[in-house]
Amino acid sequence: MARVWDSQPIAFPGDTFDMSLPAIQITSLGKRYQLGAGATERYKTLRESLANWWRTPDRSEREFWALRDLSFSVQPGEVLGIIGQNGAGKSTLLKLISRITEPTEGRISLRGRVASLLEVGTGFHPELTGRENIYFNGSVLGMTRAEIRSKFAEIVEFAGVEQFLDLPVKRYSSGMYVRLAFAVAAHLQSEVLIVDEVLAVGDAEFQKRCVGRLRSVANESGRTVLFVSHNLAVVQAMCSRVLLLSGGRLAQDGSPSEVISHYVRGASSESRWTRGELPRVEDSWAFELIELQLGGEQPRMTLRLQVELRCGGSDVFIAFDILDAAGVPLMQALPKATPFLKPTPLRCRVVIGVELPPLIPGAYAVDAWVGSDFSRTHDHVRNAVAFEITESPTTGRSVAHTSDHGSIVPVSEVIECHPCDLT
């Protein structure tokens, strides 16, 4: 194998691993999930299964590739950031690398031990003391008893919980809890460390220490770190290389600044729909062209919708439904509630401006409707155009902004906050 010394990290004397071999090599990796008729119910009930015993299996099951055709390799000592929309396949990738779930196709080759720091405090038990939890959590994360014992003092010092070691962690403050959990994870002795959104917790000062710790972990020991985060600033600061996933595929692979700026800019902010064939019904209004442009900046984003219509015989008005990725209508833009478009013998063109409420990152679809009153539809184009929002409306937010927190983020402010005497 030809060695390109310039692109390789420097090997320290006494290093046990061959730096010329990648720490992680992924070849055409894919993971398929079956979506049942009820896509949300993943486990079955015995009752249903028995009831379906004699029926032919449900062929309507849909397949869904969470990840497809993914190939890349990571050199030892690299800090690789992985970014992308919710549902782009980031978590699936980490789950495959950490062996939680099996790939459907392709191959992963790992050199060295892999430890995941998927969520701070996994396996912490509230009833156990800090000391007991350090041992248990360390073991869960893949440390041997001897390793935990040798790192014990360091862990306790990093977390700063000396006095509370023999207290059940249910009595810890949330800050102490998080610090202890991160301290255990940060002292893992593995060649590959997988980090998923752990920095989303704790105060700013502690977060800074975590970033520092992770960076030194990578630099000093030549360990490989895979880092998934929605906090682009931290990704930029920490990583030496960034992968952008989109729709389960690798969209870009390059330097942090390059990939991140591409990601922020390149998110689909324009979308266009044209009618393939005209509808049969004559003398009826119909959309022929719908164009969408996303503008503005979070939390004040705007849509510009430009439509061209073939004119019908009556006065009409138009409306747009905005739906989230799951197809749930979030809101309806109705510029005028009474018919305002007059029939003309020609086509007509309408431009509508929509001021969006602060929306969480994700993909959104727009349905277009034209009718002469609320109950009389001339044309209704579902999923006509779409747009994607990449940034959270809450600036500085580091936790993944998912629909668990609702789709719309109301504008809120602190009106009053000062010390006061309650007596």
Binding site: T16, R42, Y43, I100, E102, G123, R145
Partner: protein, 275 residues
């Protein structure tokens, strides 16, 4: 440096090696569950003793005194105690392991380890309870002045058999419980039903007297019978082994272990996806 290849279907190859490699985590899991178990309840250890103790006295009262069943010439309390302890081990191992995966869903969805160590550590926790309840046996035997014979030396062997017997259905129920979430409603029923189908409150010699050899063999189509008969043989010291039924029941528990392991491994790969 060791290279690990992950491919579809590859986890099969290293299964048993991985199981050995994760023995320390297995130990920690069992240790955690035991700690938590005795920390959470105020009466802690006492609870493990009170339940079988009440069962033994109520059983002895109803079946020994009221119904007047015979217990191979030993006091009803001693004989019922010798059967209740392994039965309690079996039934609590079954229900604890069945819930072990669902109860540790956060671990399963975040960390890789051979899933089998979860139900296995639940069985170990049930075993610790069992060891504690041996105190009852000692007390009851001393009270009724039933002294152990050399046969007691065979008790560890039957305890091992109890382990095997609990493990098979435990794995099976665990996997079924993950796959079919309504399966948990069946488990208490199986346990309750099993207590009467199994010779806990009556003896297999009594069955043999009333229904002949075949009656005893039919009762032995139940994995726990070999364990209970073995315990009574070793503790009471007044009965002889009925080898055909012992072999049948013992073979049945080995078959169940095989089926349990097979089914568990077959469904294990998808646990993280469905849980």
């Amino acid at each position: 440096m060791q290279e690990l290849i992950i491919e579809a279907g590859k986890s099969e190859a290293h299964y048993w090696r991985d199981l050995w490699r994760y023995r320390e985590l297995f130990g920690f899991l069992a240790w955690r569950d035991i700690l938590v178990r005795y920390k959470q309840t105020v009466i802690g250890v006492a609870w493990a003793v009170i339940r079988p103790l009440l069962t033994i006295f109520i059983g002895a009262g109803i079946f020994g005194t009221l119904a007047g069943l015979k217990y191979d010439g030993v006091p009803a309390v001693v004989s019922i105690c010798a059967a209740t302890l392994p039965w309690y081990f079996f039934s609590s191992a079954l229900s604890e392991s069945a819930g072990s995966l669902v109860g540790n869903a956060n671990l399963i969805s975040k960390i890789y380890f051979p899933r089998m160590i979860l139900p296995a550590s639940a069985v170990v926790v049930a075993f610790v309870d069992f060891a504690i309840t041996m105190v009852i046996l000692a007390g009851v035997m001393a009270w009724h002045q039933v002294w152990p014979t050399w046969r007691l030396l065979a008790l560890p062997l039957f305890t091992l058999l109890a382990f095997v017997t609990a493990m098979g259905p435990g794995l099976l129920f665990t996997a079924l419980n993950v796959k079919y979430r309504d399966f948990r409603y069946i488990i208490p029923f199986v346990v309750q039903f099993g207590q009467f189908v199994s010779p806990v409150f009556y003896t297999t010699t009594e069955v043999q007297e009333k229904f002949g050899d075949w009656g005893r063999i039919i009762v032995a189509i139940n994995p726990i019978v070999a364990v209970i008969d073995g315990f009574r043989w070793a503790i009471c010291g007044t009965t002889e082994m009925h080898w055909p039924s012992f072999a049948l029941s013992g073979a049945f528990s080995l078959v169940l272990l095989g089926v349990g392991v097979w089914y568990f491994r077959r469904t294990e790969k998808t646990f993280a996806d469905v849980i």
